[in-house]
Amino acid sequence: MSAPPLLEIKNLHIDMRSGQERLNVVENVSFSIGAGETFGLVGESGCGKSITALSLIGLLNRPLSVGQGEILFKGQNLLKMNGSELRRLRGNRISMIFQEPMTALNPLATVGRQIAEMFVLHQGSTWHEAERKAIAALAQVQVPAPDKRVKNYPHQMSGGMRQRVMIAIALACHPDLLIADEPTTALDVTVQAEILKLMQELCDQRGTSVLMISHDLGVIAKMCRRVGIMYAGHLVEERAVADLFRHPAHPYTHGLLASLPVLGQRTLDERKPLQEIEGIVPSIAAFPTGCRFEPRCTRATPICRDTVPGPSILGDGSFVRCYHHG
């Protein structure tokens, strides 16, 4: 009944070579994003969100590489594409914005030039045409006085303005998929709220799908309907956002939500110590063989140590990887 998803990731493995060893940094990750859908990927720093995103557009560098798996974009396996095919896709059908726009923007070119370049590269516009389109694109991301701002260099703009420029570049060619990797992490909350609203409006209008990556559950709850929780390179749970917050299934998700201070809680109740998750996040070299959360898990039994749990289906396409979920 439902149309095939825009993006389907099947059993993605990302390996890291370290001397003779091959470490499974990301293991067996599967999820899909429908047309016009915003899918959230949450997890703590180092759990593999960014490298998962980079693997989608063929930008993984040594020592990292895709070990196995399929990445189907409109039914085509991106992992089988050659360099020039991928380049044509990037920026055009799939584009990406990052946490720190300063690293992605060219400090020596005006922002207008950098937006215009997208139209020249991907739409065959003349530079003259492209510059006109760049002004319109800046207006769309609500930069005031866009005809003047196109002449600015990145360092002449605030962090929030630069992120708007990045969005203008990313959405210039009306891509099918926008990958947003921590797009507001470096911004103040009030600026973050504006940027999120802008992204939501523009992507809604155009039916752009979004892969929203964040360590901030609030950002995810605001932007996404479905969300995947990553822990140490595993996708441990994939749920509708509302279900995830009401009935987290994986012990990690459960612990994480219980450990957060909740706004308003202290007004209702006297302050109690926050619930802690004991232990530390394992490092790549010390990943457990079975469930990677096992050393910190209060529900763990011997099987958890030996074998990675397969997905247990929870309904409406949700799943959790845990022998003791609930």
Binding site: G218, S259, L260, L263, I277
Partner: protein, 320 residues
């Protein structure tokens, strides 16, 4: 009534002169702190919230004596600590210490934890080897580390453990005040609760006073006794945590609170934002700034008054 004030900041201004080559008028200066007054009470956690660039770090450095005030004064326990009567470095170190956002950047990678903690003790005249060891062991235990871990180097610890080390270093000289600059925002989300709990325990146990800089308002609500909202070098609103969250008055505070993406709130009331839940704004007052984000850091702000609107709750209005 006993005076509960531990630290009093009065009419503090800090300006950074701009180098003459960049601007034609060489007397121009960035006004990082503008005539700011604020008090810290004994054993309270006072949180300072505000946009980046509003002067939070400058304020912290000035309190620690690492930045000279351009104008104004700071006193500790009733005695001035700025100007002619300011105490020496050593005495100052026992008044206030700082915990940094990134524990790794603030530790010397080539120094064991033991030396990192022993150096300040020796500087402060604790020379007996046994006493130094005891003090270090006791401090490490206090922050949830084992004394034998002192032999290790910073890279051998996880992020959460490093922040415990950062806290141990701040505590080693028994200061009265700890300035916490974004103490948990660089940590793994699943580790934050451990550090937040630890900080609250230590505050009660050691009778500490905290000045916490944070942009995470759920952490601020959980930890604070009072909150000061800072905007371009001024405090625009200040009050007990309950009043700030339940009854924000200044437009900037209201905007800040409305912008929080709180997951539980979003899930519970899909169509309601925090803004809808705020009481209606006070009418009949004008505020600076009318339009947020239009402030010029080279200009002094217009005349304003800091007026009470409730118990211990004050708001900055345009002077009439």
């Amino acid at each position: 009534m006993v005076d509960q004030t531990l630290l009093r900041i009065e009419n503090l201004s800090v300006c950074f002169p701009v180098s003459a080559g960049l601007f034609r008028r060489s007397h121009q200066a960035v006004r990082a702190i503008n005539n700011l007054s604020l008090s810290l009470h004994k054993n309270e956690c006072l949180s300072i919230v505000g946009e980046s660039g509003c002067g939070k770090s400058t304020l912290a450095l000035t309190i620690l004596g690492l930045q000279k005030p351009t104008q104004g004064s700071i006193s500790f326990d009733g005695k001035p600590i700025t100007g002619a009567e300011q105490p020496g470095r050593m005495q100052r170190a026992r008044m206030a210490q700082m915990v940094f956002q990134d524990p790794y950047a603030s530790l010397n990678p080539r120094q064991t934890i033991y030396s990192a903690l022993a150096v300040p003790l020796r500087l402060h005249g604790l020379c007996n080897q046994g006493e130094v060891e005891d003090r270090i062991a006791a401090t490490l235990k206090m922050v949830g580390l084992k004394p034998e871990q002192a032999k290790r180097f910073p890279h051998e610890f996880s992020g959460g453990q490093r922040q415990r080390i950062g806290i141990a270093r701040a505590l080693i000289l028994n200061p009265k005040i700890i300035v916490l600059d974004e103490p948990v925002s660089a940590l793994d989300v699943s580790i934050r609760a451990q550090i937040i709990n630890l900080l609250l325990e230590l505050k009660a146990q050691l009778d500490l006073s905290y000045i916490m800089i944070s942009h995470d308002l759920s952490v601020v609500e959980h930890m604070s006794d009072r909150i000061a909202v800072m905007y371009f070098g001024q405090i625009v609103e200040e009050g007990p945590w309950q009043s700030i969250f339940a009854n924000p008055v200044h437009p900037y505070t209201r905007r800040l609170l409305a912008a929080i993406p709180d997951p539980f709130m979003i899930i519970r009331q899909e169509d309601m934002t925090r803004k809808d839940m705020q009481p209606p704004p006070l009418s009949g007052f004008s505020y600076y700034p009318e339009e947020i984000g239009t402030h010029d850091v080279y200009q002094s702000p217009p005349a304003t008054e800091f007026l009470p609107v409730g118990d211990d709750h004050r708001v900055r209005f345009i002077a009439r």
